[in-house]
């Protein structure tokens, strides 16, 4: 091959994967019943619908505040209890704190929990305990374990083993080593991860609310089902404000933690 001659040869190895990709995409589209006509149709319907939904039902605003607060509280409690649970799991899932078989079992359970979407957990809890905030809080708390448990366990395993050896050498027992050595070192990570999880839990709280946990998710779903689309729009606006506000708050607090760690 001379220099200067253009050739598609170098792309040859992409042909088969790309064809495969195209085939799978097409197949998947058929399975979903996705067609462009439906999309066009739907988009126009969707836009019309949006215009139909506004203006939002302003008087209904005050009715939305209480459910919104409820959703926030559900997310808050879910995160608090979830964090506490995760700390326990994380310690059991760390090779430097727990014996091998305990550690592996704990890691397996954490991985298992990660595989189950929170909504599924909620459905099961509703089947057991009925509707209301309780299954919502428990579902969110259990949902934290997958993420926080793994992150914290990894953080704990990365701690300097010499530090723990030293504490053991002066006669401290396991509990003391955890309280005076492990916890202070993982504290900034813990807070940071929890705040991040809070953001996720607020969104989940809305979704879970629609399935039966109550709060503003339920209001939204209800309005939709009752064809009260203006009301739904109001609920939507409140939700957006909620999510956005939590994100900002969480971001600011987390930045504060980072700075505190760096400066002091």
């Amino acid at each position: 091959m001379n220099r200067g001659e253009f050739s598609f040869k170098r792309y040859r190895k992409y042909i088969i994967p790309l064809l495969l990709l195209a085939a799978v995409t097409e197949g998947a589209a058929i399975v979903c019943g996705a067609t462009f006509e439906k999309l066009e149709d739907g988009l126009t319907k969707g836009i019309v619908f949006f215009r139909f939904m506004s203006p939002p039902d302003w008087p209904a605003f005050s009715e939305m505040l209480q459910p919104a607060f409820q959703s926030i509280m559900i997310a808050f409690l879910g995160t608090v209890f979830g964090t506490l649970l995760s700390i326990v799991f994380a310690m059991l899932a760390s090779s430097n704190l727990a014996p091998g078989w305990v550690r592996n079992t704990a890691r397996f359970l954490i991985g298992l929990e990660r595989s189950i979407p929170e909504i599924v957990i909620l459905l099961l809890l509703i089947a057991a305990f009925g509707l209301g905030p309780m299954p919502g809080i428990i579902a969110l708390a259990l949902g934290c374990i997958g993420m926080l448990g793994k992150l914290l366990a990894d953080t704990i395993e990365e701690l300097d083993p010499v530090m723990m050896d030293a504490m053991e050498s002066v006669g401290a027992n396991k509990m003391q080593i955890i309280v005076f050595g492990v916890l202070p070192q993982i504290m900034p990570n813990l807070i940071s991860y929890s705040l991040f999880r809070l953001e996720i839990n607020i969104r989940l709280s809305v979704i879970l609310g629609a399935v039966g946990a109550g709060g503003i998710g339920y209001e939204l779903d209800y309005s939709f089902n009752m064809l009260q689309y203006h009301r739904a729009f109001t609920a939507l606006l409140v939700i957006i404000a909620m999510v956005f506000g939590t994100e900002r708050l969480s971001y600011m607090l987390r930045k504060n933690i980072k700075m505190e760690g760096a400066l002091k």
Binding site: A28, G33, A34, F50, A127, M134, V211
Partner: protein, 270 residues
């Protein structure tokens, strides 16, 4: 330094106790407000045990009965796949339009960033409800919702990745007289592509969980079947579905890991 200059442990203790008490009070108030009794979970545990009794052994007949379960699985997978692919492509395009080093016109950047933010802040619950009205219930609505969700999650991320790429190679290419597009093609794209692909594979993982959840709202797929079974109290079916879901999620995770290693591993050696 003497004793007066430091904070005595007794004072620290008092501070710790105060913080702890206030937190405990806040949490307790919240629990009371929501009528949530954490101890209730343990005292009322017999509900869980009863449920577990009804749920086992799982009824795997649902797989054999008719092909609808298999089809539902296929639907869920397809939803996740298409949502990730299309959402990812659109997110990438938007990211290039929103990044400061690829889009010189501030107006365009701002507009795109606002659009992406709007998409991101909409909870998927709302999106799926609207799409169900627009294109009817089923997997298509679910897929479109996932496209939206992927754009929302990854639009901003991709923009950051592009903006964080190194300038030096681009400047070098620019200085030999290349056009902006060529700079993008030869400097930025090779740098960001590995991160994009890694992100998309991760998105696949996330999407499959979301797909299951959306199914519950009329998005089709196995989530829908699960929810249906639960409503009619066919708990054995529910367990079967849950186990299928777990297998699905784990398999997707393994697949995404494997693909990431294949594609990116190759990339590095090239």
């Amino acid at each position: 330094m003497n004793l007066d200059d430091i904070t005595l442990p007794s004072k620290q203790y008092k501070r710790k106790v105060t913080i702890f008490s206030i937190s405990a009070v806040v949490v307790s108030l919240a629990c009371i407000y929501l009528n949530f009794n954490p101890i209730g979970f343990f005292t009322e545990f017999h509900f869980v045990r009863d449920l577990l009794g009804e749920m086992f052994p799982p009824n795997y007949q649902v797989l054999a009965e008719n092909s609808s379960t298999g089809y539902a699985i296929l639907q869920t997978l397809s939803m996740a796949f298409l949502g990730t692919v299309y959402g990812g492509i659109i997110a990438m395009i938007l990211a290039f339009l929103a990044a400061s080093n690829t889009m010189p016109y501030r107006v365009v950047r701002v507009i795109v960033q606002v659009v992406v933010s709007l998409v991101r802040v909409l909870p998927s619950l709302v999106v799926v409800l609207i799409f169900v009205i627009a294109v009817g219930p089923g997997a298509f609505a679910g897929m479109l919702t996932l496209v939206f969700a992927t754009i929302g999650t990854f639009g901003k991320l991709f923009t950051e990745i592009i903006e964080n790429s190194e300038k030096a190679p681009g400047e070098a290419i620019y200085s030999v007289g290349a056009s902006r597009f060529q700079v993008i093609r030869y400097s930025i794209i090779p740098q960001v592509l590995p991160s994009f692909i890694a992100s998309l594979l991760y998105a696949l993982d996330v999407s499959i969980r979301a797909a299951i959840g959306l199914g519950i709202f009329g998005g089709g797929g196995i989530g829908f079947k699960l929810q249906l079974a639960e409503k009619v109290l066919h708990y054995r079916d529910v367990t079967a579905y849950v186990s299928i879901i777990i297998v699905l999620v784990i398999l997707t995770e393994k697949l995404s890991d494997y693909l990431r290693r294949r594609i990116l591993g190759e990339g590095r050696l090239r």
